[in-house]
């Protein structure tokens, strides 16, 4: 149980900067997800925490102890790799026992702890099996078990579920969370899958192009994205983002959305925020889930270009010229492609971003 602090962390590989000045505090016992598309620097950050890579600049502190120069074997971290890295020349039992044996624990204790973790991960019937021919689902369980058995204070997981099948992934999401609750480790979880991050993490650190974009609880990140990248990345589909400019109307401040016409009047809170910021050119954002079909003339009339019925919900693609919008309705929504529907956007869900900087405009 250790807090992790990253201070001005920079990592360069030759001329390429993989990570640009990152500051992040991971609290003791927290489940932190590093979320971002591939190549965003999340794995590099993780490797530096583990000690597999050394930072080009900055410091990594575990409970105020500088980890610079501390070998990875002495950091007390557990690491689960995306490709499991199981020792195939050993059986399941020996793989699980590996960390304990390296630490020279008495064989009787090794045995009892292997049994306990095998029970927890439902590996008991497989203990005597060679590990070379196990299925990926079992391999991933084994990899988690091998790292968890030594009860590391910090548990690092690098996309552990990206290779397993969808049904098993859902099971493991619950189990990993359960595991973390039981052992109360500080957990850092690298993923490109926002569903994993949203369901498991206490807080999410969203990254892109080596830059930390936002840190917050899953709901904060979803409801109040700090910038355009986070807005578009979080949520599936992501937030609708429409370029526009502010305009006064007789009903209050609105956003002129070009071919799509004018938006509904902005909420008073947003109006004061946008007036304070001084921005004129803005990006008008709203969640596809916050759109409803409106029968009145109040709504925005838009042509339907495509309808995706994905079981529980219906994703409707709407468009007018450059401006394209997605909306999520119930599965039985009576919308046909080719028709025109009138939509209403929930006023409280509207977010504005500065068109130049991409940063969210928020009240203070």
């Amino acid at each position: 149980m250790t807090a992790i602090r990253l201070e001005n962390l920079v990592k360069r590989f030759g001329a390429f900067t993989a990570l640009k000045t990152m500051d992040l505090e991971i609290r003791n016992g927290e489940f932190m997800a590093l979320l971002g598309p591939s190549g965003c620097g999340k794995s590099t950050t993780m490797n530096m925490i583990a000690g597999m890579e050394s930072p080009s600049e900055g410091r990594i502190l575990f409970d105020d102890k500088d980890m610079n120069g501390v070998a990875m074997g002495r950091r007390g971290v557990g690491f689960v790799f995306q490709n499991y890295a199981i020792f195939t020349h050993m059986n399941v039992h020996d793989n699980l026992a590996y960390g304990l044996r390296v630490r020279k624990l008495p064989e009787s204790e090794v045995d009892s702890r292997v049994k306990a973790i095998a029970e927890f991960l439902q590996l008991t019937p497989l203990l005597k099996q060679p590990s070379a021919k196990l299925s990926v689902n079992i391999l991933q369980r084994l990899a988690i078990g091998r790292s968890a058995i030594v009860e590391p204070a910090i548990f690092l997981l690098d996309e552990p579920l990206s290779n397993v099948d969808a049904a098993f992934r859902a099971v493991m999401r619950t189990e990993l969370k359960h595991l973390q609750r039981q052992f109360r480790q500080t957990m850092v979880y690298v993923t490109h899958d926002q569903l994993e991050a949203m369901t498991m993490a206490d807080r999410i650190a969203v990254m892109d192009h080596g830059v930390l974009q936002q840190v917050g609880t899953p709901l904060e990140v979803y409801n109040n994205p700090a910038n355009l990248f986070v807005a578009g990345f979080i949520g599936s589909p992501g937030m609708n983002l429409l370029k526009g400019s502010l305009a006064d109307s007789d009903r209050g401040l609105v956003v002129n959305l070009g071919e799509m016409g004018r938006s509904q009047p902005l909420d008073p809170e947003l109006v004061s925020a946008v007036r304070q910021s001084g921005s004129r050119e803005v990006v008008y954002g709203f969640r596809p889930e916050r759109v409803s079909l409106s029968g009145t003339a109040e709504g925005m009339p838009l042509p339907v270009t495509f309808v995706e019925r994905i079981g529980a919900r219906t994703v409707v693609h709407l468009g007018a010229g450059e401006q394209r919008v997605k909306a999520v309705f119930d599965n039985d929504a009576a919308v046909e492609s080719g028709s025109t529907v009138s939509i209403a956007i929930e006023p409280a869900s509207v977010r504005l971003f500065d068109a130049g900087t991409g940063i969210a405009i928020r009240g203070t």
């Binding site: 995306q82 490709n83 020792f87 195939t88 590996y98 390296v102 091998r146 290779n163």
Partner: protein
């Protein structure tokens, strides 16, 4: 599988031809090893596939227990050359594999020099003769001519590049995560190499060792230059199996050849399952 008949005929013709090229001489040798002199020498006009009067005379002859119907007596038996071949090839393989594996691991994991691996094959870039004359002089200077250890050392040196390059590709293919997984548990580098990397590399080690062993085992030129009497190897000894009266002693050569084929075949069978390259490194999914 709906191949046309002409294609099938063509396919099997090619397979048959390929098999014939390798198998006929081998079978002929095996058959000849058991033929008495009258059947393998030109004197016995009709050559047959099966020995008409199978005999072990050829084997007795090369081990010096019988002079067969040949009036010649050998000045030495096949025992010592077989021992010489075994010692030099085995130790040569150990040297090449030991140094080659260590060098390959080091360069694969920590190597920075681009030219160093290439420098290792320079001994192979020249015609063997050009390299072997200086080696002969050096070995003479060091007093290692006509000794199995001198031969083992040069075998180790000339096959080192093969051992190195083979092992390097295997090490390059092995994912580093597996070693990192052991390192993060607090295992030392040396222990990771001995307890994790090498055991997982067993198939690679076996197939590389077989390859290197066969190279050493079948060498003629180096042994011809570096041995004179005491420690001649099987190929050199085989070349000497002739007499002024009968010319080439084909029966004796065939018997010796059959014996020489045994060690590689045994090794090959022993590691056959590894040769199919069933390498499932760390159960990785790429």
């Amino acid at each position: 599988m709906n191949r046309s008949l002409p294609f099938e005929i063509f396919r099997y013709s090619v397979i048959t031809l390929a098999l014939a090229i390798t198998l006929i001489p081998t079978l002929w040798m095996a058959s000849m090893a058991f033929k008495p002199i009258a059947e393998w020498s030109a004197a016995g006009a009709d050559l047959t596939w099966w020995p008409k009067n199978p005999t072990l005379d050829n084997f007795r002859f090369i081990f010096g227990t019988s002079t067969s119907d040949l009036i010649v007596a050998l000045d030495r038996t096949a025992g010592k050359p077989i021992l010489s071949s075994l010692l030099s090839a085995v130790f040569g393989t150990l040297i090449a594999m030991g140094c080659g594996t260590a060098a390959a691991y080091g360069l694969s994991r920590f190597g920075s020099g681009q030219n160093l691996p290439l420098a290792l094959i320079q001994l192979r870039l020249f015609p063997p003769m050009a390299v072997m004359i200086p080696v002969m002089i050096m070995w003479a200077f060091l007093g290692m001519v006509d000794s199995w250890w001198g031969l083992a050392l040069i075998y180790g040196i000339v096959t080192l590049p093969f051992a190195f390059w083979l092992m390097k590709t295997f090490f390059d293919d092995m994912p580093r995560e597996i070693e990192d997984a052991a390192l993060v548990e607090g295992c030392s580098r040396g222990r990771v190499f001995l307890k994790i990397t090498l055991p997982m590399m067993r198939p690679a080690l076996a197939s590389s060792a077989l390859f290197v062993f066969i190279l050493n085992w079948s060498d003629y030129l180096i042994a011809l230059l570096l041995t004179t009497r005491e420690w001649v190897t099987i190929p050199v000894y085989m070349a000497s199996l002739s007499s002024s009266m009968t010319g080439q002693l084909y029966g004796a050569k065939a018997a010796l050849g059959l014996i020489a084929a045994v060690p590689p075949v045994i090794m090959g069978i022993a590691i056959q399952r590894h040769l199919v390259r069933g390498l499932t490194f760390g159960a990785l999914k790429q």
